[in-house]
Subunit: 147 residues, 2 copies
């Protein structure tokens, strides 16, 4: 059973965002930002729709979270994202000073971990592998349909 | 004398953007995107005004350039920016596949070059040091006034 307010629960919410992206023909990546067990921002990849390579799920969610908080920094927040962030998104997370990042599937080709954790703020903790299979399966489905 | 359509000329335009940021109390960084000797986008740092850590000059200019071109990729464009881009902005430049990046002042603390050119697209060429003193002087003036 899915317990409320767990990493599992919030990753499910990020997966919902990824599913929305998939329905729009976008690479299915979704994210939510959580503060005090409350989702304060959501985002999904919109690079095609907006013709904007910076419109990744994490960028949209971080900007929306800052808007919601009326503050630039997010030290008490957690970002849940279905795919390992790229270097751009890791750089944005660095500037946001976000407290914690939880991602689902790894991205060996474009993920920030190729550069090590130095791209993130030293105070940011990282976890991964939450609902990994579901997160990865969405991407596999998308790229299979494209072929 | 300032020749038209030179790196020097376009960096001057980026400096104008940085000066606009300075007038607004923002860290003075400015950028322009040039395609076929035409400025197709401008941007200056707006992180304070927008309460958004992602609102760097380069991010704004790249998004605006893509809007202007109606295309996601900018292989035939040059970004001129007064300060060495951070990792986030380098990551955005990677995704944009921009042809060339020219920056003024170095940023030893937060610049992407700490990670090497691997953060940029392999096809992107980089130059730096154009109007370096003017670019750096704006930043020095800003941080001195803050103290």
């Amino acid at each position: 059973m899915l317990s409320v307010y767990s990493d599992d629960y919030f990753m499910q919410q990020a997966i919902k965002e990824a599913e929305t992206a998939l329905l729009k023909g976008e690479i299915p990546v979704g994210a939510v930002v959580v503060c005090d067990n409350k989702i304060i921002a959501r985002g999904h990849n919109q690079t095609e729709q907006l013709h904007d390579v910076t419109a990744h799920a994490e960028m949209i969610a971080v900007t929306a979270a800052a808007n919601n908080m009326g503050a630039k920094y997010l030290p008490d927040c957690t970002l849940y994202v279905t795919l390992e962030p790229c270097a751009m998104c890791a750089g944005a997370l660095f500037w946001s000073q976000i407290g914690r990042v939880v991602y689902g599937a790894a991205d060996d080709k474009r993920g920030f971990m190729r550069f090590g954790k130095a791209l993130l703020h030293p105070k940011t903790t990282v976890e991964y592998g939450v609902r990994e299979e579901t997160c990865a399966e969405l991407l596999t489905r998308f790229f299979k349909a494209k072929r």
